[in-house]
Amino acid sequence: METLGAFSLLLALCLAAYAFLASVIGGWKEKPFLAESARRAVYGVFVMLTAASAILVYALMTSDFRFAYVAERSNRAMPAVYKFAAWWGGQEGSLLLWSWMLSLYAAIVAWTNRARHRRLMPWVIAVLAFTQTFFCLLNVFVEPPFQMLAVGRGVTSVADGNGLNPLLQYWLMAIHPPALYLGFVGFVVPFAFAFASLLTREPGEAWIATTRRWSLVTWGFLSIGIMLGQGWAYAVLGWGGYWGWDPVENASLLPWITGTAFLHSVMMQEKKGMMKVWNMVLISATYFLCIFGTFLTRSGIVSSVHAFAQSSLGSWFVGFLAVSIAVTVFLILRRLDFLKSESHLESVLSRESSFLFNNLLLLASCFAVLWGTLFPVLTEALVGEKITVGAPFFNKVNIPIGLALLLLTGVGPLIAWRRSSWESLKRAFRWPVLAMGLTMAALLAFGVRHFYALVSLGLCAFVAATVVMEFYKGARSIAARNQMNFLRATVELTHRNTRRYGGYLVHMGIVLMFIGYTGSAFNKDTTEEVKIGSHFRIGAYELHVKEVTDGSNPNYSWQRAVIAVHRNGEYAGDLRPERRVYAASQQPTSEVAIRRRLNEDLYLNFASMSQSDPEAAIIQAYVFPLVSWIWIGFYVLLFGTVVCLIPSKVKYAYPKTQVVGVYERQPEAAQ
């Protein structure tokens, strides 16, 4: 069976290489049959990789410990769903997942465009096939998943495997890699279209319309992947945080930042014909950052809490990135004349300008995060000493950027194209500014003095007011004209222009997330050694440690503290934080207990029994205000993204400014 798996991978590699060569030659020499055969090779790659993946998954589900990968990542006691998730639990398997997803995307692109974009498609497939060939090379030669446990010249097996790291045996973490990959891998498609259209000098409108959907879906998956990571860190890691600016976290954030910049500046190209070179650079940067992120996470060049084996994987990625970046830069420079702007910046107070500032801020953030992540590598190369920077650096730079972006989220949609007057701005922003002022005044009255918290919540009120006003104005006029009730009018309004109003919903989601993040300025924490039967206080809560119980099952043994929670004197239920030790790996984990409410979370971690007093338990208690709004805001953001993807009821043809000719007045003849 392992031979079948390894052979499928080899065949996939050959087909991918063929697809690349055939599409390049077919596109260049204009041979449609060669290009068509390349398209079919793409389908073939998908079939082969599906077969290889199915064989690996089958081995995992049946606990076939002759396979080295299965012996390392799976064990008999694991629930079936985690046996499946072990597919991406290790380096070889997760690279196979990457390849499989890429082949799936390529097959979908090839199928849905089989009768369209005939000049473009061979080159799109060429780019996809080039990337696919690279990953198949890794699957076959560098990290093969079908190694067997060998003794002498025979194959052996073990009685039971190591099992998945228990920290990963949690539903959020199980689906985090696939969600993230759906994002990472997905960005190759808009990049392929952009590259192909640049090569063939296809006008921008064609590729932008096609890739807009892909970019939005991919960006959505990347957002889901990042949020799953945050949710998991919060619920599983025990320190109550959701973002530590760890290198692998940053690696997933970088393409998200440039992807967001791209989603916005592409609107400028659609409506004003501006920023063509910049958009090309942005989508290329997003794609390369995805590959770079994959490289950073697996190569171990920056030390992080992810542990990695030393392998030559890093050099392969560097080679691939170097070649790809060189070719792309060369192509952009050769086609600069084709990418000339159709209109120009006329005023600093304009929507163009706000998009430009949006891009500037996002790219500044991306640069800072990239530089901060690579700081140890850079300083070691330049100064000889390895220096790292931590969360204070990232927060100092990114919090002001985030707040400035929040301001733009409110200003941008309401400011006019080309040129806005102060008068029109004053009219548009009267109520939002009032909302901001009232919010900040109220917070000050309640004793809030934290500067960033005040600004953040004030801006949240500002943006929320702009969004509500937009919906209200539009819905009111539809309701009046069509005799509809207000709710139906709002739905109708959104349906008529899903991009605009879906976008507003996404912005609203961001506002809610900002509210959630701002709550962390008011976190409370305490660590207490408490005798069983006594109690301690934190914030508005009184916590009684009732008892400590223990037990075991085939997968793990556990020790649990039962704690009664009283809030403002009233009994509010029991919380049961737990400590587990997993049998196969002897890995301890802490299962925190969280009481989630809209205004704050009560978060309890059972650290251990006290070593000096066997009747006392060490409990770490935290109060996290407003943290649930992060998750709520994210669901709103997702909903908004889905709305954006629904086709509008009315198709808008966007008027574009185009210079047709110049009329010059002849000077008057002398009298």
């Binding site: 290790g90 190591n162 500032f357 500037l360 790292t388 730079v397």
Partner: protein, 148 residues
Amino acid sequence: MKTYVRFGVLVAAILGTLAWLAASGIRESKTYYKTISELKSMPQSEAGKRVRVTGDVVAGSIRREGAAVRFQICEKERGTTLNVVYTGKDPLPDTFRDEAQAMADGKLAPDGTFHASSIAAKCPSKYEAAPGKAAPQPLNPGPSRSSL
């Protein structure tokens, strides 16, 4: 032209502010990587620097003393050991146990003990998420510490 000048000035102002914030952030948090041997042979003048030191946790050396946790890490190749004491408020990572690879951020005290403000630990197996990093916010007390 005037539009571009105005725009340019704004861009320069924004980037300038960010660069200043970045420089101050680096100053506040820069941490030098040092091996245990390098740390022990550091000249006195450098004793106040924030350092990140890695080593394997010596089996049986982890002791909890109230709020503090004391343990020893050793550098495998040279056999040198270092005494570490951690008094941070964040829980120790789940991966922190005997023989694990630990990373401690902090400063070397005059008595030769390393006072760690944050501990991270790795699982010694390949491509596994070994998170559980204690939050690296040691030197800036948050604006709302527990009033207990």
